[in-house]
């Protein structure tokens, strides 16, 4: 068979192979997303019984909506802190998982447990542990009971802790992937040169880990930005909306107030923010790839 014919055949088979995925994504996922975008251009509040096209009016309102900006701020803070803490914990954890340290097998097995528990369940579990009167956390801390879920300063950090608990293992695995890509020879060379473990880590390991770290940052940021379950179970966005993230604001607008128009606008806005975030990380990732 001629090379050109074989290429043609490859192309045709490729289309066949991806067709199911495209069908499913296009058929099932595309419609709701387009519907949401379409709704975001309407004023559609169930209880008013009206539904009319208003173009970009909702978006104009969004730009001036202080509650949106507050939610965006909470979400950004949550994402930044959660992802940073997760990375800071994941790197030592990954190092531990890689080494032939005692308890590695147990660590490996147990590290996936938080990730396996349904979020709704683990959020309730933490809510119970954070209970100001009976929660085990306050019991273990000396001094006055901390109002974890009812004081504006603490509540968001309680939610961050839950998220860190749940997803650090996943990030650690991504970092471990990066660690395992670093050739053993490089370490040997460093030892021959007499470099201390810390020096090796900083000058050798970290730079080579950058792509893995950026990938972890990408996935985690995208997820953390859309956090909903944990916070909703812990505080429902309270007190006084200080833990309200974009997803919670969108949920309340859609499902409590019955404002499908503006709720869709909020969802699209969240989506756009996530897209921007992804673009930034992908750009950084791309630069790393070409730099190597």
């Amino acid at each position: 068979m001629s090379p050109r014919g074989s290429l043609e055949r490859e192309r045709r088979q490729a289309y066949l192979l991806v067709a199911p995925a495209v069908l499913v994504l296009g058929g099932v996922a595309l419609y709701p997303i387009l519907a949401a975008v379409w709704l975001s251009l309407h004023r559609f509040i169930l209880v008013f019984g009206e539904r009319r096209f208003t173009g970009l009016e909702n978006y104009a309102y969004l730009l001036g909506d202080s509650r949106f900006w507050a939610a965006l701020g909470n979400t950004a803070y949550f994402t930044a802190v959660a992802v940073t803490v997760e990375l800071l914990l994941a790197v030592p954890l990954a190092l531990l998982l890689q080494k032939a340290s005692p308890g590695r097998g147990l660590l490996r097995a147990s590290v996936l447990v938080p990730w396996a528990i349904p979020t709704v369940v683990s959020a309730r579990l933490w809510a119970w542990m954070f209970n100001p009167e009976y929660g085990v956390i306050n019991r273990m801390l000396p001094g006055q009971d901390i109002n974890w879920l009812g004081a504006p300063g603490y509540a968001l950090h309680a939610a961050i802790l839950v998220d860190v608990w749940k997803t650090t293992p996943f990030v650690a695995l991504l970092v471990l992937a990066g660690l395992q890509g670093i050739s053993e020879d490089l370490y040997k060379a460093a030892r021959v040169d007499g470099a201390s473990p810390w020096r090796t880590f900083v000058s050798l390991t970290l730079p080579l880990l950058k792509p893995a770290l950026l990938l972890a940052l990408l996935f985690r940021s995208l997820d953390a930005f859309r956090v909903f379950d944990a916070i909703y179970v812990l505080t429902e966005g309270g007190p006084a909306n200080t833990t309200e993230t974009l997803s919670i604001y969108a949920y309340k607008t859609l499902m409590r107030s019955g404002d499908f128009g503006y709720g869709s606008t909020l969802s699209v806005a969240t989506f756009l923010c996530v897209v921007v975030l992804a673009a930034v990380w992908l750009r950084l990732l791309g630069r790393e790839e070409t730099a190597r």
Partner: protein
């Protein structure tokens, strides 16, 4: 000079173990705690009454089976569709590769809450509302992007020579995929399977909205039904969540080697 595992390492291991397993152990303890004593610092005795009421008082085993069925369907669907597409994306030349991956990523970034109403209408239209099979469809759709990304990067790591050699031997692209590359992708498939399974098992929003009859309930929805109008039976909820989580924990523990190697094997250089 080898780096001796010292005290610092041991302490770090213990710290991590406590952090990750601690809350889960507390959950198990809560499920064995007598209900009237839940507010005391420590139980006076352990009891299985919460488990009894969860397993016999409510049709919880049925619920677990439902979740198992939906999660398995979703996983099977995702792996089938995803592996085929991922192979093509990784190894074959065709237009629109980058577009498909980006589009898939975009789909997974959209807030699910805004998709509930339109999806409800779709499912009603095709008559798949209140059916476990119908639930698996949106699950699979929204798990597909992750599947595509993980499997594509996995297939990319497999040497091109394998594929080309198979083609030279006279295989069609599909045969090369089916006979040569797919078996090698087993770790990646295992990882993806676990990821998708857990996603489908834990999903709540769609399960609540699209299913209505009691026989079809899945685990997260069933747990949400435990609470009475104002009362929240902590002990029973803890017991139910332990029962609900055990299959997942068992799966992850059993497959943890596969999962770790699946996520990391792609990076191993020759």
């Amino acid at each position: 000079m080898r780096h001796r595992p010292g005290l610092g390492t041991a302490l770090a291991v213990v710290a991590f173990l406590t952090f990750f397993l601690g809350p889960f152990c507390w959950q198990v303890l809560t499920s064995l705690w007598p209900d009237g004593e839940l507010t005391r610092p420590w139980p006076s005795h352990l009891t299985l009454e919460s488990y009894a009421s969860v397993l016999w008082g409510r049709p919880f085993l049925r619920v677990v089976l439902n979740s198992l069925w939906v999660a398995t369907l979703t996983t099977g669907f995702c792996l089938t569709v995803g592996a085929a597409a991922a192979f093509a994306l990784a190894k074959l030349e065709f237009r629109g590769r980058g577009l498909l991956l980006s589009a898939a990523l975009a789909v997974s970034m959209f807030p699910p809450i805004a998709t509930v109403s339109p999806l409800y209408l779709i499912l009603r239209a095709v008559g798949l509302r209140d059916s476990l099979v119908g639930l698996a469809l949106p699950y699979a759709t929204f798990a597909l992007p992750l599947t595509l990304w993980v499997l594509t990067s996995f297939f990319r790591q497999l040497p091109d020579e394998l594929y080309r050699a198979a083609r030279v031997d006279g295989c069609t692209p599909f045969q090369a995929f089916w006979r040569v590359l797919l078996p090698l992708a087993a770790p990646g498939l295992a990882t993806t399977a676990i990821l998708v399974f857990i996603f489908a098992w834990n999903e709540f929003l769609y399960a609540l909205t699209f299913l209505s009859t009691p026989e079809k309930r899945t685990v997260p929805v069933a747990i949400s039904l435990f609470a009475s109008e104002h009362r929240e039976p902590w002990g029973e909820i803890a017991a139910a969540s332990v029962v609900a989580t055990l299959p997942l924990v068992a799966l992850t523990v059993l497959f943890q080697r596969r999962i770790v190697s699946g996520l990391t094997a792609g990076a191993v250089k020759e």
